[in-house]
């Protein structure tokens, strides 16, 4: 009689099968579809130099807060205070840049204003986290309370200090402050330079190919300008928004922590089964509090980039951003119940959302409100897909 062991029951899977079973596959497919559809509908404009810059700006912006929301959701909690936290941080920085440091401590530099603001937002995150873990209340309700609290506080502060609900027309700090340039300026300019260099070489090369008619050459150059390899016919673009750098950094660190570190294991364990995690010595409460603070950190980065990019801020900033961040996380394959998900999926989700949110600029005949119709539909589909994945893993199907 041949011995059959448990391991024989697990079929070896091929590379493709493994890929298809990955939880990110749904968000990946949606992303590819959107990229394709947008490229066709905008006749390529969405992905020329300027289109890319604009799209990546909003993708990064959404991605930064979505990563914070996603980690927190993996640990089993929600943060509805992201949007108001953005408004609060933006207010705090802008007001300090205009009126100086609090308590008459003198002029504010962009970096100092950021640091003081970050200290406050992290403190808010810490308070929210502590209330949630100590009271055992649902984070949904606790952060909803902070949604109102922070929105109100932001407006009150604006009016008390600036007699207005916004600060606008700040000087452009990017010129003198390295920090402001890192937040609101541009990055990866060399990419566009390299791109331009390739473009000039290619078109120069074309001049010498004899076996093409003049009009064929022109067609080809036109075609290449669709990819904008030669930027002669397009607006001059010198770099991506600095947000892209922050998005890459935050997403990269979050990915590494989740996939490769002890803290990552603890985040998953906390969201999956809090009691069993605790019984095994995982400091569940500290993990949660830390992630509420991380979410506040992401909101602060979002706000800082915005303030130093536009040299202004107002009380309505960050409106709906908490909902968009959660929606992106869900579309990226994060389970509403926690314990499962990956940053790669969230990146796909952010790309999809950013492109769709921006689509109206590239497809003039489309009504911008379709964005929300799309979000609603995709969100629902994603929740069903995620639920299927959860059941598959926990043995339901």
């Amino acid at each position: 009689m041949s011995e059959r062991s448990e391991s024989d029951r697990l079929q070896r899977e091929g590379w493709l099968q493994r890929m298809l079973r990955r939880p990110e596959i749904g968000s990946f497919i949606v992303m590819v579809l959107i990229i394709t559809a947008l490229a066709i509908a905008s006749e390529g404009k969405a992905f020329n130099a300027l289109g890319l810059k604009n799209n990546i700006a909003i993708i990064s912006q959404l991605g930064i807060i979505a990563v914070g929301a996603a980690l927190l959701m993996i640990a089993g909690e929600f943060d509805l205070s992201i949007g108001p936290m953005i408004a609060f941080a933006g207010m705090s920085i802008a007001v300090m840049m205009k009126w100086g440091l609090p308590f008459g401590l003198g002029e504010a530099t962009p970096f100092l204003a950021f640091l003081i603001t970050l200290a406050m937002t992290l403190a808010f995150g810490w308070i929210i986290g502590n209330i949630v873990v100590r009271s055992g209340l649902s984070s949904f309700i606790v952060t909803l309370a902070f949604w109102f609290f922070l929105r109100g506080l932001t407006e009150v502060c604006f009016r008390l200090i600036n007699q207005n609900t916004n600060v606008s027309g700040l000087p452009d700090f990017k010129k003198e402050s390295w920090f402001a340039e890192q937040m609101g300026g541009e990055v990866f300019g060399w990419l566009f330079d390299a791109w331009y260099w390739i473009g000039t070489k290619v078109s120069a090369g074309l001049e010498f190919t004899g076996d093409m008619t003049k009009s064929e050459k022109l067609d080809l150059i036109n075609y290449l300008s669709f990819l904008n390899i030669n930027r002669k016919m397009e607006q001059w673009v010198t770099g991506f928004d600095a947000r892209l750098f922050w998005f890459i950094l935050i997403a990269g660190v979050a990915w590494y922590v989740l996939a490769r570190t002890q803290l990552g294991s603890w985040i998953y364990a906390t969201g999956d089964n809090k009691e069993s995690a605790r019984a095994n010595g995982v400091p569940v409460n500290r993990v949660k509090i830390g992630l509420f603070m991380f979410s506040a950190f992401c909101a602060t980065i979002f706000a800082t980039c915005q303030v130093f990019d536009t040299n202004s801020s107002d009380a309505a900033k960050g409106m709906f951003k908490e909902l968009e961040a959660i929606a992106i996380a869900v579309v990226g394959g994060i389970l509403m119940t926690g314990g499962f998900g990956s940053i790669v999926g969230v990146i796909f989700g952010a790309v999809t959302f950013g492109l769709v949110a921006n689509a109206v600029f590239f497809i003039p005949w489309i009504d911008g409100a379709w964005f929300r119709v799309f979000v609603g539909t995709v969100l629902l589909a994603a929740v069903f897909a995620n639920e299927r994945i959860r059941k598959r893993i926990t043995g339901g199907i």
Binding site: S7, Y256, L263, G281
Partner: protein, 257 residues
Amino acid sequence: MSKQAYMRVENIEKKFGPFIALGGVDLSVYPGEVHALLGDNGAGKSTLIKILSGVHQPSSGSIYIEGAKREFRNPRDAAAAGIGTVYQDLAINQLMSVTRNFFMGRELTSRFGSLRMDEMNQIAHDEMLKIGIDFSDPTQAVGTMSGGQRQTLAIARAIYFGAKVLILDEPTSALGQKQQMEVLKTIKRVRARGDIAIIFITHNEIHSRLIADRYTFLALGKVIGSGTKAELEGEDIRRLMAGGAEIKDLEQELSAI
């Protein structure tokens, strides 16, 4: 009595407000033995093992490890003293991989906090193989494992992290026949190592007869009988399991309905 008890508890009392959950319980466990802890629902079995594993503090009474008095203020203290508890719910996270569960809270990390994943996979696989299951892919989620396999994972984990007393709270209760036998085999293999004392809580008389060396019966928070297999006679066990009521009385009561 040639062997020395690894752990001995004396006169443990536990009150929840006015309610006396345990009213003075004694218990000794020996390496290489299975000690069955039996009793009706609400008798206080789970309360007792929660005290042994540091989850609850006793209202009074003492715990001795290898003769020395110890106090467990939290589960960490108990774990450090070699108490490994496998709870009824197993303390397992379904969505996480076998390896991540195996090392949950005690991950092997390199200097910068990153996980030594390959090493952890290897250890998880080897340790589970030692007590009976060959799980070829430890990166698989635990949700896909059978109940018996999960039990084995929880037991292997407790042993690997240095359990000298392995406490199993109703490990067979939620399982089908075949898987129950798997778990009993696993317990036997652990027993055969000779250096681990096992406390086995069950409602199943047959299971306790199959593997137990020693018995303690609880009813309403007190010990109503204890002894080695040889000391307790067959009929006795059944009577004690029913909380001390005579089977004949029960039969009469049942027929009167």
